[in-house]
Structure formats: structure tokens, C-alpha cells
């Protein structure tokens, strides 16, 4: 039984394009039990879950976010190779979407409440950040959390001077083991809000904390996580999220219905549906409809698929499924045309690749110095490590225990100066070496004005804190 008298948290699992499921869950929570979101102490999220978490924490309009997700999916599906096509730049699409739709004061609303799970590149450890200096800062953290290496790019982005990649790699469902955390995952398993497949299979595995049952439904979902399905199926996933959340609220008696009528959707929603009047149909549409074997007039989206969703989201899906701009789209969807385009791929791909690589390079130019410094730092570290290993015969293990050793890519027996030096290399040009070492010293003495600048001080897991205390001792 979920206990409302104590404080509670929400935790959204990372799931790639299945993030639309989280939108469905969030819309249900906002509609049926808004106090659950408002009263939540912390909202955790990894990868796509972090995006939804940020939206909830910063009170961004949910329909807008849904639109963004659909737009991203459409962008990803536009080309032959889907999201693997070189001209699809997920990071850029995400950044534009977040910049557009997060409110200007998102960082103040999110700071302290939103906890984004990140994986630090230098040692592969999980870091949870929850302080953001500006909206840009917040967006950068979210992008770090969504950055799947190789799939999204080669050079990991940095947040407050430290390089991070997808939080799902180290902890996909942060804090889910706490009893008072409502865990939300689009994969059926042992999360609080998750799809219930009618399978009685007890084979299960954990993907960095997320429980995933082994069954056909989940295999299907996994295959869709990085290669998004068409909007219709997205709508279905979204609605499943809504239903599962509703069931969770029902089972735990968390529903505080404003409406006297029970049921997932208040009655007035039905009338405000999206559909444009039938008279808008042009002859061309009509022809196409005839060609598609006379489906009903709302053929682009089965009403039942979005039946339960709140009206604004319903509208988004309706529009998304409806958009088939002109004859070109239809022609390009025909089988022979598609086959031809696949066969031409070996010819067109190099050209397109070259173009998009060039474009990306131009976009990369402002970040070149920082990235180069980082790469040089890594190279220096590796070389230095090899040198020390050969000279001293592996001093790294002398002073630290196992967990510490994992956290540090640098042998701790170094003197203070070289540690600071290397940290400044890691952190790029954002912080001076002096600043950074002062952050380290500030950690155990509680909050200070400097704390908000450092992501490292804000880790909530005791293991992380233990690491920083340790490193501080050693640097002194």
C-alpha cells in the first residue's frame, strides 16, 4: 500500500522513443491525481524519462511535449535508415524542442526537485544531478542523459564541465528500490506503473535497475525503443500509459475524482475531439481514400486508440496521424518507390552523409576547443597511467578499497597539485582549478553558495558521497 503520509518520489525509466508512454502516464497523473505530482519530493528520470520528469517539474504544457515527441519520431522515420540516417541529429532536435517548450524559469522550478540520472564518462559511475543554474544548464543535463553513445554521436556532451552519457547505462530507474518511490516503466515487469502483459512467465532480467519480463510484448517494445514506430502505434503506447497509470491509481485508492462520474475520461472530452469537419476533404483526398479501399472517414486514427487520453493530447495524435502532406508522401510510400529508394541507397548515402557530416562539423566548430581539450586530457591520462604503472608497478591499489578504485580513473596516491591539474583538464575551461578544488572541500560542510555550481556535490546516493569524501581526503 502506498503511503501518502510520508514523502514520496516519482521515478521515470529511460526507454528511448517509448517516452511517449511516460507522456500518457503523466497526463493521467495530472488529470486524475495532480497532488501526486505537486507533492512529490523528488522526480527522478533517466534518458527519455528525464525529459518527462523535467516537464512535470517545470510545469511545461504536456500537449506541447507530446507534440515534440511525435515530431522527433516523424523526423526519425522520415528517411530510409530511420534514426540511423546520418542526417538525423537527435541531439539537435531535442535541444530545439526543449528550448522552445520549457518555460523560461524551468531551472528554478526544477532545481532540487528534478533529479537527472547521468553516467560519468571518466569512470562509468552513476551521478544524479538536481541543481541547474540556468535553463541552458537544465537542457544540457537532459541532453547528457539522453545521449546514447554512437547512436547519438561520438563525443559525449558535457554538463557543468564534466562529460556524461545516457543515464540509462548506469541506472535506468533511479531510486526505484525505495518503497515510497512510484516507479514508471514502459516495459512490463515489477515497476509500479508498467504495462501488464497477460503472460505468466517468470523469466525476467534487470537492465540497470529496470525490471523487464521476458515476453513477446517486451521484445516488441525493446525493438521500438530506438527505432520508433508510426504515430498510430505511438498513440496506442501513450494510451496504454494512461490506462496503466489509471489502474495504479485505482488499485492504490489514490484517485481523488473531481468528477462525480467514475471512469477514465470525463464526458465533455468526447465532443471536443480533434477532427476537422468532413467537408474539408478535397477531391484528391477523396481519391486517395478510395484507393485505400474505402476506410471510414476517420481512417487515419482509430478512435478507440486515443479514447481515454485527455483532449489536448488526443488532438495532437489526431493531427499527427492525419498529416500526409500531398501526393508526394503517398507516392513515396508506395512499395516500388520504396524499393527503388533502398536500392539507390549505396549511391545516395555517401552524398547525404558527406553533406550532413559537413553540417555537423560546422555546428561542432564552437565546441572544438573544449572537446579537443577533453580528448587530449584522456590521451594524457592514459599515457600517464601507463607510465606510472610501468615505473611503480601499479601503486593504484595501495590506499583505496574496491569501490573507490572504481570511481577513480586516477591513482589516488598522487599529490594534490596533479589531482587538481587533471580535474581542471576534465572540467574544461568552465571552472578554474582553484574553484574546483574549493568545491571538493565544501562538500562535507553543508550547503554554500558554491554548491550549486558543482554537480558533484549533489549526488543523493550515499555511495557517491562516500566517494567524494574519500577523494577529498586524499587530495588534502
Amino acid at each position: 500500500m502506498f503511503d501518502l503520509t510520508k514523502e514520496w518520489n516519482l521515478s521515470f525509466a529511460g526507454c528511448g522513443f517509448l517516452g511517449i508512454y511516460h507522456i500518457g502516464v503523466a497526463s493521467c497523473l495530472m488529470e486524475q491525481a495532480p497532488y501526486l505530482i505537486k507533492g512529490a519530493t523528488k522526480i527522478y528520470g533517466a534518458s527519455a524519462g528525464a525529459l518527462t520528469a523535467s516537464m512535470l517539474a517545470s510545469q511545461a504544457p504536456i500537449a506541447k511535449c507530446c507534440e515534440d515527441v511525435i515530431e522527433t519520431v516523424k523526423e526519425a522515420r522520415k528517411r530510409n535508415l530511420g534514426p540511423l540516417h546520418p542526417s538525423f541529429n537527435l541531439v539537435k532536435v531535442l535541444r530545439t524542442g526543449l528550448q522552445r517548450d520549457l518555460p523560461a524559469n524551468a531551472h528554478t522550478l526544477a532545481s532540487g526537485r528534478l533529479c537527472v540520472s547521468l553516467t560519468r564518462v571518466s569512470d562509468g559511475q552513476n551521478v544524479i544531478v538536481s541543481q541547474f543554474k540556468s535553463k541552458e544548464d537544465l537542457i544540457q543535463a537532459l541532453i547528457c542523459s539522453c545521449f546514447i553513445p554512437i547512436y547519438c554521436g561520438l563525443i559525449p556532451p558535457s554538463f557543468q564541465g564534466v562529460r556524461y552519457v545516457d543515464g540509462g547505462i548506469s541506472d535506468n530507474l533511479p531510486q526505484s528500490e525505495l518503497k515510497n518511490t512510484i516507479s514508471i516503466s514502459p516495459f512490463s515487469g515489477e515497476s509500479d506503473i508498467c504495462p501488464r502483459d497477460t503472460s505468466f512467465n517468470f523469466h525476467e532480467f534487470r537492465f540497470t535497475n529496470t525490471s523487464i519480463q521476458i515476453n513477446l510484448g517486451n521484445m516488441y517494445r525493446l525493438s521500438k525503443a530506438l527505432f520508433p514506430p508510426e504515430p498510430k502505434i505511438m498513440a496506442e503506447i501513450c494510451q496504454n500509459g494512461y490506462k496503466d497509470a489509471f489502474r495504479f491509481l485505482e488499485e492504490n485508492h489514490l484517485l481523488k475524482l473531481q468528477y462525480p462520474t467514475a471512469g477514465p475520461s470525463p464526458p465533455e472530452v468526447v465532443n471536443t475531439c480533434c477532427c476537422k469537419p468532413i467537408v474539408m476533404e478535397t477531391t484528391k483526398d477523396w481519391m486517395l481514400r478510395r484507393l485505400r479501399l474505402l476506410r471510414e472517414w476517420h481512417w487515419w486514427l482509430d478512435e478507440q486508440i486515443v479514447d481515454n487520453l485527455p483532449a489536448p493530447i488526443k488532438k495532437v495524435f489526431c493531427e499527427a496521424c492525419q498529416q500526409k502532406p500531398g501526393l508526394y508522401a503517398h507516392v513515396s510510400e508506395m512499395l516500388p518507390v520504396r524499393v527503388a529508394s533502398y536500392m539507390l541507397l549505396p549511391c545516395t548515402l555517401p552524398v547525404v552523409s558527406a553533406y550532413s557530416v559537413g553540417k555537423r562539423f560546422v555546428e561542432w566548430i564552437p565546441e572544438v576547443p573544449a572537446d579537443m581539450r577533453w580528448l587530449a586530457g584522456i590521451a594524457g591520462d592514459v599515457a600517464g597511467g601507463v607510465y606510472r604503472q610501468t615505473r611503480r608497478g601499479g601503486p593504484a591499489d595501495k590506499t583505496s578499497d574496491g569501490s573507490l578504485r572504481n570511481c577513480m580513473s586516477l591513482p589516488p596516491s598522487l599529490d594534490n597539485n596533479s589531482l587538481v591539474e587533471r580535474d581542471s583538464q576534465l572540467s574544461g575551461f568552465a571552472l578554474s582549478a582553484l574553484d574546483l578544488s574549493s568545491h571538493y572541500r565544501n562538500i562535507p560542510t553543508g550547503p554554500s553558495s558554491q554548491d550549486s555550481a558543482s554537480p558533484l556535490t549533489l549526488c543523493s546516493s550515499p555511495r557517491q558521497i562516500c566517494f567524494f569524501v574519500g577523494s577529498q581526503e586524499e587530495s588534502d
Binding site: 501488464r196 503472460s199 517468470f202
Partner: protein
């Protein structure tokens, strides 16, 4: 105290190194590490069955009971573990549940340290082999009547046993039992109406050719790490007892041996997770006088509504469903206090 007469290895040692870093003796040591936590009198031994199979059995008795013996011998509690498990998974229940009565736990035939015979591929025969091994085991231990508790696959077998030998069971407790529901006709199109892409079905079909846990054995030296990676929750469930990966080690060594019980399970199940001979068809064969309690985990994907369907099949008889909130499929390990309390109250109701 352990009384072991380890079977002499028939095949002998091979000269080449093993691909899988496991052996009977490693399993024994890992299990011993787990059983060290038991506070009460523990008697562990192999029970030989007429067909030469050996069942690894633990008897736990309250050490205070010997000093002040109770006048009536009470019905013992027998617990049957689930798929891929072993006696070690009951570690958090052995002590609390042995207070009032003797407690027996054993490794199912083909799992854990018990013999690993060949299982027939016919679902009815495979089931019969497991069930008759339980009956022979009971006979060898001269238990007259027992409170039978089964978890997951053990719940399926316990039900099957109770149907065949109802006079031996005082109360049937089914914890998140497997294999009750029918496979729905459209199970292959679970979430999406449009059906699954062919390649996913092809992948599933391919994996269906192998035993369920073949991946762990095929991983060879990486196996223990793989189990640790895939099921870290087992370490977390028992973290107050062991601060290392003892539990996943135990699971690995239980399942990295030659597959046997797995083959039996594969014979009994179809399309990953459904029983070929679902229990809901047969629960009405349980005598109406036999009380049945179904215990479900609140967070488990096993649908507790099955309990109501079992009750429907058994009119005019005692069928109760208990849901333990906050527990996942491993109910006995997730919420041990609550679980023990429920089981204890059932036992008290028997005698």
C-alpha cells in the same frame, strides 16, 4: 549440522578445463554460506528415492522445542521452491517458520543439488515425474500429512501433487503460482493489435529451441557476471544477510549445472510462460475439503485475479486469496515479515 554423503562422481574428472566455472562442490560451498545464517537446528541430507534419484533436503526444527517438547506432534510445513531456485532462497523464512512445527524444504528434482535425471518431453509425463518424486520423497521421510507450500513453478507442482495425493495435504498454500491461466488465443499479439514484426517472432522461436537458461551456461566464464548483471535484485533482497553477491552466485551455480529440471519445465510450458496443461482446468479435482490459500505479491505480474477464478472452480470449499503489498514475484524474499506472518497464521489454523 550437515550430514552429507556426497555421491561419487561417476563420470570422473575430465582433463580439459570446464567452460563453465561451476561444480557441485562450489554449489555446496555457496549454499553452506547461505545456510550458515540459520539459527535453529538444521539437518541437511540427501534423501534417496526408490529410483536412485536423490533429493537434497533440509529439516529445520526449533532448538527450543527440544527442551520443552510439545505434547502433540504438529503437521510439518513443506515448502517447494520455484523455477531455477533452490533451498537457499528460503533463507529468510526458515527460522521464523520453524517455531511451532518442523519445517522441510528440498530442491526439486532436476534443480539445485538434487539429482538431475532425464525428463521426458511430454508435458504430462514430465509433470508426473516431478510429482511422483515429491510423493516418494514424502514416503521416504515418513511424513503422514503436511502443509504444502509451493512458489511459482513449485505452486504448479504442489497443486498437481495435491490433486493426486489429497490425503497427504492438510492445507495447500500457493505463492504466486505459475501455470494456472490458459494461454489466450491472441497471446501472440499482446500489446499491439497490428501484431509483431516477423523478425521478433523469429528471434523468439530461435530462443525457444534452447532451454530457458541456456544463455547463462553458454556464457561460460562470464556467466556469474551475467547473472549478477541481469538479476541484481536478488542481491538487494538479501542484502541484510550478505553484503556481497552470494545470492546471485548461488543462483548461477544452481542453474549452470547440466539442465534437467529446466527440460522438464520446457516440456510443461509453451510459448515462454504458459502451461500446456493449465491448472485452472484441474483445480476442481482438488477435494472440496482441502483448504487452499493463494498468496500473491502486490507488485508481481502474476494476476491475483486468478485467485478468484480458482475460487469459482471450487464452490463450497475454502479458497482464500491474500495479496502482500510491496512484494514482487519473490514474495518470500521481498516482504519476508509479512509473508511469514501470513504463512504462520495459516499453519496455526491447521493445528
Amino acid at each position: 549440522m550437515q550430514d552429507e554423503n556426497e555421491p561419487k562422481s561417476v563420470s570422473g574428472r575430465r582433463w580439459w578445463p570446464s567452460w563453465r566455472p561451476t561444480s557441485i562442490s562450489i554449489l555446496r560451498n555457496t549454499e553452506a554460506k547461505i545456510l550458515d545464517c540459520v539459527q535453529n537446528d538444521l539437518w541437511a541430507r540427501f534423501v534417496s528415492l526408490p529410483n536412485q534419484d536423490r533429493i537434497w533436503t533440509l529439516t529445520v526444527t526449533n532448538k527450543n522445542l527440544l527442551k520443552a517438547p510439545k505434547p502433540v506432534a504438529q503437521t510439518p510445513l513443506v515448502m517447494v521452491h520455484g523455477f531455477g531456485g533452490g533451498v537457499g532462497l528460503w533463507i529468510r523464512n526458515l527460522d521464523p517458520l520453524c517455531h511451532s512445527r518442523p519445517l522441510f524444504v528440498f530442491d526439486l528434482l532436476g534443480f539445485g543439488r538434487s539429482s538431475r535425471p532425464h525428463f521426458p518431453m511430454d508435458p504430462a509425463l514430465a509433470e508426473e515425474q516431478s510429482v511422483s518424486s515429491i510423493e516418494h520423497w514424502r514416503h521416504a521421510l515418513a511424513i503422514d500429512r503436511m502443509i504444502l507450500l509451493g512458489h511459482s513453478l513449485g505452486g504448479y507442482l504442489a497443486t498437481s501433487y495435491a490433486i493426486q495425493y489429497p490425503e497427504r495435504v492438510s492445507h495447500l498454500i500457493l505463492v504466486d503460482p505459475w501455470g494456472f491461466q490458459h494461454m489466450p488465443l491472441d497471446a501472440t499479439s499482446g500489446s499491439a493489435k497490428s501484431g509483431f514484426p516477423r523478425y521478433i517472432e523469429a528471434i523468439m522461436w530461435f530462443f525457444g529451441l534452447f532451454n530457458p537458461l541456456a544463455v547463462i551456461r553458454a556464457a561460460g566464464p562470464l556467466g556469474p557476471k551475467l547473472v549478477n548483471r541481469l538479476r541484481p535484485d536478488f542481491n538487494r533482497k538479501f542484502e541484510d544477510l550478505f553484503d556481497d553477491d552470494t545470492m546471485t552466485q548461488y543462483l548461477y551455480h544452481c542453474n549452470a549445472q547440466t539442465p534437467s529440471g529446466e527440460v522438464g519445465f520446457k516440456a510443461m510450458s509453451e510459448s515462454i510462460g504458459w502451461a500446456k496443461r493449465p491448472m485452472l482446468d484441474r483445480v476442481h479435482l482438488l477435494p472440496p475439503s482441502l483448504p487452499v490459500t493463494l498468496v500473491y505479491g502486490g507488485r508481481s505480474w502474476m494476476d491475483s485475479a486468478t485467485g478468484a477464478r480458482v475460487a469459482e472452480q471450487r464452490p463450497n470449499s475454502y479458497t482464500r486469496t491474500v495479496v502482500i503489498e510491496g512484494a514482487a514475484h519473490q514474495v518470500n524474499a521481498d516482504q519476508p515479515e509479512e509473508f511469514n506472518k501470513v504463512v504462520q497464521s495459516i499453519c496455526d489454523s491447521v493445528d
